[in-house]
């Protein structure tokens, strides 16, 4: 306990300051958001009941132990004290027995709540998908699901009984103390609010001091990891050896700064300790003095002396875990924010179903807009985008980085929902393309197709798990993966993906293409820079195979690599979130607009 309080202070500056908003809301000592949890009333009532029992048992143990001690002090025989000793044993173990029951109760309750949150979160991620993940990042999403929920669980287990005990046990114990000796009662009652006041005060001061130095702290504490990440750069410039001294110096600087803050931060724990010990000492001395003048007897004095530390114990326990519980508290806040932030899900509202795309089908959109809710400001990625495509057209999408190519592909794939505008499929209006009957006929091929940690066969047949060996062999031949399979120790049944056999970028792209081959329902292909990081020779090999897959399909192909444009029927040029030009390559060249200047910029040097 001693360490954990202070440890919170040591580590907290290390964390990035993205939780500030949640932290501000969480300044209150007791977290209000707890009271919104389902079943919380019942559990709090049960806990309160157990706290009353625990308080009574504590009183019982003090009573029986004092009785035994007093009798022994009066010269009674040990054997006559069996009843009192038995009672003491019962009460002493009873206190822990109640804690046992309480833990059992909470273990289940906290798990149920955590499981509920986890279920909501994982459902949100796997139905709302890329939109949600993109907004918070893959790392944050998985961390929130795994660590965040676990922290909430631990937080509930930790904080609920502490709150109940803090509110009930001191109140319960102060009654017998008063009845036995009102002077001691007054001492412990006066001290209690003082402790709370000073702790809150010192906590604030330390917090402010830490906040003032936050920036400095962050730089100092991140210096080490920063140096490790850039260690190869330092080495390339021959600066790495001398940088070692720097690391030590900065770390020592961090130590001194931390200790300065700790001196105050630890003080709040110290003050609590001081008040508690001093009041126990004061009670003891006052009792002694009043025993001397005969106004008190040994039995009540001993009982009070045993009860006094127990009276303060819930406060000490609450304070000790307060810092440790902050993580869970912040996690609960972030999860609730993430779940609240969910946009209405269009997939649930099922308008007339979309037919399978065919060569007469038509997709029209007008005035589409899409805005990202960044943390501080909204960023308008697309605005007033209108278009119409029909049949098996191949649409090339070009534009500088940040022009909105990826956002448009995301909308077309139905991963995100437009904020404005209308979409019509064959004259049927659809609020968005985020719907299962659209998803089932599209395939999305990004720059880095995701390979799952599974066998190559499972990865290939991802869209069509029932694919036969012949079908798979055919797809493998189409995309040119035979050589790889021949090389693999267990052929199609080799594990690939993270942590197993890694595939190169080109091979991963081929696996993604094979998935398309295997699923006959796929009529629409969406590419987002599929060859951007491939070497030119691999790209050359893949191009023909990709083009053959594009036949008899509607294609949207966003890329920087302009040679693809010759194979496209229609080209959209994006700039600043709008389609600024649209037409065939010849038309655009002839028009001499943005597209041809882009081409010139690229080819001018080469020519």
């Amino acid at each position: 306990m001693a360490a954990s309080v202070a440890y919170g202070i040591v580590r907290s500056p290390v964390k990035p300051n993205r939780t500030t908003r949640a932290e501000k809301r969480n300044r209150a000592v007791i977290d209000r958001s707890l009271f919104g949890l389902p079943g919380i009333r019942r559990i709090l009532l049960l806990l309160a009941g157990l706290a009353v029992l625990a308080g009574s048992a504590t009183f019982g143990l003090a009573w029986s132990l004092s009785s035994a001690l007093t009798h022994l002090w009066q010269g009674a025989a040990l054997s006559d004290q069996c009843v009192w000793i038995g009672l003491f044993l019962l009460c002493f173990v009873g206190v822990q027995g109640i804690a046992w029951l309480q833990d059992l109760l909470l273990d289940n309750y906290a798990h149920e709540r955590a499981d509920e949150l986890r279920h909501k979160l994982v459902t949100a991620v796997f139905t709302r998908g890329p939109e949600l993940v993109q907004a918070s990042g893959t790392g944050t999403t998985t961390t929130l699901l795994l660590e965040g929920v676990a922290q909430v669980e631990a937080y509930l287990r930790l904080i609920l009984p502490k709150i109940c005990r803090l509110l009930i046990i001191p109140l319960l114990l102060v009654v017998p103390i008063f009845l036995l000796d009102w002077v001691s009662g007054v001492v412990v009652v006066i001290v209690f609010p003082f402790i709370v006041f000073y702790m809150v005060l010192l906590g604030r001061v330390a917090g402010e001091k830490a906040a003032r130095q936050h920036r400095k702290y962050q730089v100092l504490s991140n210096h080490f990891i920063d140096s490790l990440r850039g260690i190869d750069t330092l080495k390339l410039f021959g600066a790495s050896r001398r940088h070692g001294k720097n690391i030590y110096a900065v770390s020592e600087q961090f130590r001194r700064a931390t200790l300065k803050t700790l001196r105050i931060a630890t003080l709040s724990g110290g003050v609590l300790d001081l008040f508690v010990t001093l009041s126990v000492a004061a009670v003891a001395i006052l009792l002694g003095l009043r025993l001397l003048d005969g106004s008190l007897t040994l039995f009540p004095a001993l009982t009070i002396l045993i009860l006094a530390p127990e009276y303060f114990k819930p406060l000490r326990e609450f304070a000790a875990d307060f810092h440790a519980s902050l993580d869970g508290r912040n996690a609960l806040a972030s999860i609730q924010t993430m779940l609240r932030g969910a946009r209405p899900d269009a997939a649930d509202v099922s308008p007339p179903s979309l037919p399978l795309w065919n060569n007469r089908a038509r997709l029209a959109a007008s005035g589409l807009g899409f805005t990202y809710d960044a943390e501080h400001e909204a960023f308008e990625a697309l605005s007033a985008v209108s278009f119409e495509v029909s049949g098996f057209t191949k649409v090339g999408i070009i534009g500088a980085s940040g022009a909105g190519k990826s956002s448009l592909i995301q909308l077309l794939a139905g991963f995100s929902v437009p904020d404005a505008g209308t979409i019509h499929v064959n004259d049927t209006p659809a609020p968005s393309l985020k719907r299962a009957d659209w998803h089932s006929q599209i395939a999305f091929l990004p720059q880095n197709p995701s390979l799952f940690h599974a066998t190559l066969r499972e990865n290939l047949a991802f869209y069509h798990p029932q694919a036969s060996d012949e079908e798979i062999a055919e797809a493998v031949a189409v995309v040119g993966l035979q050589d790889l399979i021949a090389e693999l120790p267990e052929g199609l049944d080799t594990q690939i993906g993270e942590g197993a056999r890694a595939l190169s970028g080109g091979q991963a792209q081929r696996v993604a293409l094979a998935r398309v081959c295997l699923d006959t329902r796929i009529r629409v292909l969406l590419f987002d820079e599929p060859t951007a990081h491939l070497d030119i020779e691999t790209e050359l090999e893949l191009k023909a195979r990709m083009l053959s897959l594009m036949q008899d399909r509607l294609v949207f192909f966003a890329t920087h690599r302009l040679h693809w444009m010759q194979s496209m029927d229609l080209i959209w040029v994006l700039d600043g979130g709008k389609i600024v030009e649209s037409g065939t390559l010849e038309e655009l060249r002839a028009r001499g607009g943005y597209c041809s200047s882009l081409i010139r910029q690229l080819e001018g040097v080469e020519a």
Binding site: T142, R255, L291
Partner: protein, 627 residues
């Protein structure tokens, strides 16, 4: 893994003996460092609880004594004074203990960090490539945090409890040897047996929990990355169910752990109760039988035990947690020794990664250490600084396939060379050999008549590198630039910024050169980061520059602008550009293609465009006029 070669100076046996002591390189040696502060922290920790116990002890005696002799203030004078001393002293000691122990821990952290840095520094060039997947650096940095915790939460509490146990037994020994021994037996169960059994029984469970959690982490990350595929395939529910099933399995283990600690705490409480009763019985036997007098001590001995429960309570948890630090200690233990020769490092360092990527051509230089600079200090490259590569071959170990073979190449000062080839063809390995980070298995790489691998860190005076991913340190722009040349003046920095096309940007920064590079709202774009990297190289003023896929990740227009700047500023230098497509290649003097580790095509871009069909095909493809 590390088969001997001509350059291998360290026999396996030596590595083996090192492995023996590697376990304690990161934890035990620090007990010796700053020993004074450590002992002080432990003493203060023990003293805190001695005072806490003494407070209740003297209070118990005080009221018993006072009850016995009403009116006699002198009788309780000493106990009252003691109660005051212990009451004031305990919180002060505890406060001091926290500061001293944190000070010690943070000091040790500084040393640990330096040690970790030095262990990584030697092999820095290859480190990132080896651990491309996963944030191994973040993990290692966290491991140091775990070691901090190991001291604070496990080692300190255990030592404190053991010392206190010895003190209790010794004190009781003055009164009764037999009871002291009985107490030793009971307390041993509390401070040794229960923690040990918990550590053994729950340790296995805890390890299983950790493995499951890690697997779940990997599985979830994998699938969140592929979330769009799950949605498109309409199989989302399938995965959510799998995931919940895994979580349920994990919960099973966790519930078991919780149950175990719940039951253990109940058991401990029974033990404490027995100790209290034993103390009561013994004290009654030893001091009882009369009204007051010696019987004043009974309450003292019994009450004195209560505060000590707080010392014993965290022990089982501390012992269980010891297990979970083992991973951290192991991971750090597998790092190369900070003062061993590079030859030993390869095998060890590679073992740190659980997943050595097979695709990477650049891996640990197992048996081919860079010679230590000091040994060859005499050899200095002489002008003209011609780069001569003769009969070069390279393989990672005798057993593996060679990555490069039969490479012959001469590059006169000022010549510009482009290296093309598929990923994995050996381009990066060739660059590493040129920089002397790897030692050729056969043949030689010489710069101005000296083997580059013999130059040690002095290679940085001759060869500069613009990396694929240039790292910007979280420091000021000036500090970031001066990595290239510490002694550069502000004027030189501005001059170089101007030449890489960042002059305008530099002037717009709120504090100019002294602006922190990550200050709120200020983010350098990919192109700008490359330009800063170029500025560093220009400042270091080296005759030969290697560009490692300089435009990767940029859109074609930005890439072309960057290439223009590169060629303009590096005009007078020897230039080697590794690239995976043809942009900018026409401006080079010579192009080579590497395929399967050997040169398959070589010539000036002009010649090749005229006469080589393959090159023509690629060129036509790249510039977009292919059909």
């Amino acid at each position: 893994m590390s088969a001997p070669s001509a350059h291998d100076k360290s026999p396996r046996a030596k590595a083996g003996s090192r492995a023996g002591r590697r376990g304690d390189r990161w934890i035990r040696p620090f007990f010796k460092q700053y020993r004074g502060a450590l002992i002080l922290a432990l003493l203060l920790g023990v003293a805190t609880y001695v005072f806490a116990s003494a407070l209740m002890f003297s209070s118990g005696y005080l009221i018993s004594r006072a009850a016995e002799a009403p009116g006699n203030i002198v009788a309780i004078f000493v106990p009252v004074a003691l109660v005051r001393i212990f009451g004031v002293g305990k919180p002060i000691l505890q406060y001091a203990e926290r500061l001293v122990s944190h000070n010690w821990i943070l000091r040790m952290t500084s040393s640990l960090r330096l040690k970790l840095y030095n262990a990584l520094e030697r092999d820095a060039i290859f480190f990132k490539q080896r651990f491309r997947t996963g944030d191994i650096l973040g993990l290692l940095a966290e491991d140091i945090g775990h070691i901090q915790n190991l001291y604070l939460r496990s080692i300190f509490p255990l030592i404190r409890a053991w010392v206190l146990t010895v003190l209790i037994v010794v004190c009781l020994g003055f009164f009764s040897l037999w009871f002291a021994l009985a107490m030793l037996l009971m307390l041993s169960v509390i401070v040794l047996l229960v923690p040990l059994v918990s550590a053994l029984r729950q340790g296995a469970c805890e390890a299983r929990r950790k493995t499951m959690k890690n697997q779940l982490y990997e599985q979830l990350t994998d699938n969140v990355l592929g979330v769009s595929d799950w949605i498109i395939s309409g199989r989302s529910d399938e995965y959510t169910q799998t995931y919940r099933a895994s979580e349920e399995a994990l919960r099973g283990v966790e519930a078991k752990l919780h149950r175990a600690s719940r039951n253990r705490d109940l058991l401990l409480q029974v033990l404490y109760a027995l100790v209290v009763v034993a103390l009561l019985a013994w004290a009654a036997f030893q001091f009882g039988g009369s009204y007051g007098g010696a019987a004043d001590w009974i309450a003292a001995f019994v009450l004195g035990f209560f505060p000590l429960i707080e010392v014993f309570a965290p022990l089982p948890k501390a012992a269980v947690e010891m297990n979970s630090y083992r991973d951290s200690a192991d991971r750090l233990g597998r790092l190369p020794h900070e003062d061993e020769t590079a030859a030993d490092t390869g095998e060890r360092a590679r073992a740190v990664s659980e997943n050595p990527s097979e695709e990477r051509p650049l891996s640990a230089p197992d048996d081919t250490p860079r010679q230590d600079a000091a040994e060859h200090i005499s050899a200095t490259p002489r002008a003209p600084l011609t780069l001569a590569i003769k009969g070069l071959a390279y393989r990672y170990s005798a057993a593996s396939r060679s990555v490069l073979h039969d490479i012959d190449l001469t590059l006169a000062p000022g010549e510009k060379l482009a290296i093309l080839g598929r990923s994995g063809a050996g381009k990066s390995t060739l660059a590493a050999l040129i920089r002397g980070d790897l030692v050729p298995t056969r043949g030689s790489v010489e710069l101005g008549g000296v083997a580059t691998c013999a130059l040690g860190d002095r290679i940085t005076e001759y060869v500069g590198v613009v990396q694929q991913q240039s790292y910007l340190f979280n420091a000021t722009l000036a500090e970031n630039l001066r990595i290239g040349n510490q002694r550069a003046s502000d004027e030189e920095l501005w001059e170089v910024l101007e030449s890489v096309g960042l002059g305008e940007l530099g002037r717009r920064l709120p504090s100019g050169l002294d602006t922190l590079v990550d200050e709120a709202g200020l983010r350098f774009s990919g192109g700008e980061q490359h330009r800063i990297a170029l500025a560093r190289v220009l400042l270091s003023d080296v005759p030969l520059v290697i560009l490692d896929e300089p435009g990767v990740g940029l859109d074609p227009v930005s890439e072309q602008l960057l290439l223009d700047t590169l060629f303009k500023t590096l005009r007078d230098k020897t230039l080697i550009m590794i690239t995976h497509h043809l942009q900018g290649v026409s401006l080079m003097d010579r192009v080579i293609f590497i395929e399967d580790g050997s040169l398959c095509l070589s010539g000036s871009p002009g010649e090749l465009a005229q006469s080589n069909a393959y090159y023509q095909k690629l060129l036509a493809f790249d510039t977009g006029s292919a059909r």
